[in-house]
Point group: none
Chain length 388, copies 2
DNA sequence: GAAGAAGGTCACTAGGTCAA
DNA sequence: TTGACCTAGTGACCTTCTTC
């Protein structure tokens, strides 16, 4: 078949106009102009867009493909074939929409036993999302050390579950703030530990706050796994999210700390993936973070806990899906989020030993140099308990 | 902008045509619009369609053709005569729409209190799924060489789009069947090429058959990319699927062929992943395969093709999601499918060079040994054209 | 910056469904 | 068989780019 890619240069701009009386090359009615590469009428233009560009259904012609003239409009098969014959071409598309999906979303619940699908969040889901998003904004904007630029939280949380969020803010403010000004070498170790502790503590607050997780019911081991991996994964999401708010990730703070290069490499690849490929909204980010934080696929041994976490994942995924639908985004976006989470899990799985080596090493140096007058680092100590 | 600041309610869409209070020209009841060429009520519209376009039944009037007003509805004879009198006309018919394939996914009665919503596939989606599944069963069960055990296709395809599927079967049967009995060393090369060609040709048939893909509109380069990667990916899904039907994958057929070990390793890891972790049913498998086959994320350079493929992906994902919902499966299952596809893409991306090296090498040996009296291997040659 | 073309909207209607 | 109600394709008319 000839490619037909040699489309004639289209008439554009204030140039030769269409003569009155010129006919549609498809249906022989009055033409209105050049549409998608051929002289056609308005209906045929719309038809072509709908059928080819919006991916509508085709069907066989009843009359063996013999439709012509005005009657060609009644036969999708023949009309489309004629469109292509006269040179209408998908190369002229600028944007595609998916109407079939949009239409289904508009279905309203019927009064029958079996409800048809209605795509809005129910109050529980709304609340869930509000709390997550509120937390996320605070977590994202909070300085992880006083070198970091802070973002203004005011206003941003307005629509969210305010009280809960204020509660977060209070809890987070009690956590020791890492100090990046190194007076002596030992300060650097303090700093690293404090940063990790901060994130681990935030994770604790986050997980306790996720609606319906019933944190205290989970087994100690499960909690430890969640916090350990969450502490590796969530800060990357935070960093990507801050990057989207205009604060680029600071690679320098990891270099020369003794953390292996491939880990740093992997981290920043993920952050870039997040901010460039995904560039999610703030609610999407909050939900992605919640999915990462509650993932059961990291060696949770208790079957009960696994089930609890799976249910939460399901709840979050459902909220995310409906929200995306409301925003007219494609399911593919959800798929890309899931793929990202997969990568994130691979990262934390592969680098957990390295991180642990890194932290232990720092600790050993620390202990050797000083009789550790133990600073309470709730988050980190909690994680550390699980290690031999 | 300040157009006429007067109360112009910015009308969109067409003008309202019918005034409330207009009467049906046939029965004098409230009219609903122009139907088949006359202003009529809904019942008269339905009546006309049924009688003229569907049944053609007639029946003499008891009252000598004197029925009028509302009572005309009781007399087929008079009602039809009046319809024709006021100008209703069979020319207004369009094609019959696609008859929806018998709903095979029936609503499952809810016994629990949790189930609030249930979605069903629309006719287009039903048809799409039926064709895919029908193709898949044939593709899966077909022997790729005469050593392979075949599965009985009879019965399995009964509920699917039968004609389309028969068409597949015919197309597939014209492809050269690889012969695994090696008389001379050269036969082995023939065999390898034929196997690859078989799969590439199957991919071609598959892609042409996917509803709404409009294969011929895609650019040559796009087609080539799809077939190339599909030929690497789809056979793995097939193998996993056969494994679920009780036919274990045959690793031996790759060993000693010169294909590098890591590729074989990767392939069988994916097959195992598919059959053990995913264990999808046959609908799901067909949809997963279609997703893999139509993925735009493999260096499709044409923006239009990318959009078209994305659109199809969206359609398939939506069907998969609804189908999973009907089967009471969690969204997480969808996520795991997506994650699998991601792995599959990584595999094909990483090993495409190796496969190409492998095929070219075989070809070189082949050419060196014999003046290649070229056997037509449509599928493979198509792929090969894109390579330098 | 105006003409022309792409894309969006939505009332309208062909055709299907199903309980009565 | 009927007709209330639904689904989804249509096309008149509109807005939003893009090009000259
Ligand atoms: Zn036309
Ligand atoms: Zn036709
Ligand atoms: Zn009437
Ligand atoms: Zn009568």
């Amino acid at each position: 078949m000839s490619t037909g890619a040699t489309s004639t240069p289209r008439k554009r701009g204030p140039e030769k106009k269409i003569q009155p009386g010129e006919l549609c090359q498809v249906c022989n009615e009055q033409a209105t102009g050049f549409n998608y590469g051929a002289l056609t009428c308005n209906p045929c233009k719309s038809f072509f867009r709908r059928t080819v560009l919006e991916n509508n259904l085709t069907q066989k012609c009843d009359r063996g493909g013999a439709c012509y003239g005005k009657f060609i409009r009644r036969c999708i098969d023949c009309r489309l074939a004629k469109c292509e014959l006269v040179g209408m071409n998908a190369d002229y598309i600028r944007d595609l929409r998916i109407r079939s999906i949009r239409r289904r979303i508009q279905k309203i619940p019927t009064n029958g036993q079996l409800m048809k699908f209605s795509e809005t969040l129910d109050p529980f889901q709304e609340n869930f999302l509000a709390i997550l998003e509120g937390f996320w904004i605070i977590y994202r904007n909070k300085q992880a050390n006083i070198h970091e630029p802070s973002l203004d939280t005011t206003g941003a949380v307005q629509r969210t579950a305010y009280e809960v969020v204020v509660n977060f803010e209070n809890k987070l403010s009690t956590i020791k703030q890492p100090n990046p000004f190194f007076q002596i070498a030992l300060d650097r170790l303090h700093f690293v530990k404090d940063v990790i502790n901060l994130h681990a503590s935030m994770m604790l607050v986050f997980l306790e706050a996720i609606p319906s997780i019933r944190w205290h019911q989970l087994q100690e081991e499960t909690k430890r796994e969640l916090i350990t991996f969450g502490t590796m994964e969530i800060p990357l999401i935070r960093s990507g999210s801050r990057s989207l708010s205009g604060i680029p990730p600071n690679r320098g703070q990891f270099e020369g700390t003794g953390l292996r290069d491939w880990v740093i490499e992997h981290m920043f690849a993920i952050i870039e993936d997040f901010s460039i490929k995904l560039h999610p909204d703030s609610y999407e980010t909050a939900l992605i973070a919640a999915l990462a934080a509650t993932s059961p696929d990291r060696g949770i041994t208790s079957a009960v806990d696994y089930k609890i976490l799976s249910n939460i994942q399901e709840t979050i995924l459902e909220i995310l899906r409906i929200k995306l639908g409301i925003d007219r985004k494609q399911l593919k976006v959800l798929a890309s989020f899931v793929a990202f989470l997969q990568k994130l899990r691979e990262y934390s799985h592969n680098s957990s030993e390295e991180w642990w080596r890194f932290i232990s090493h720092k600790k050993k140096i620390f202990m050797a140099q000083q009789q550790e007058k133990e600073v309470v680092r709730t988050g980190m100590d909690f994680v550390a308990q699980g290690r031999t």
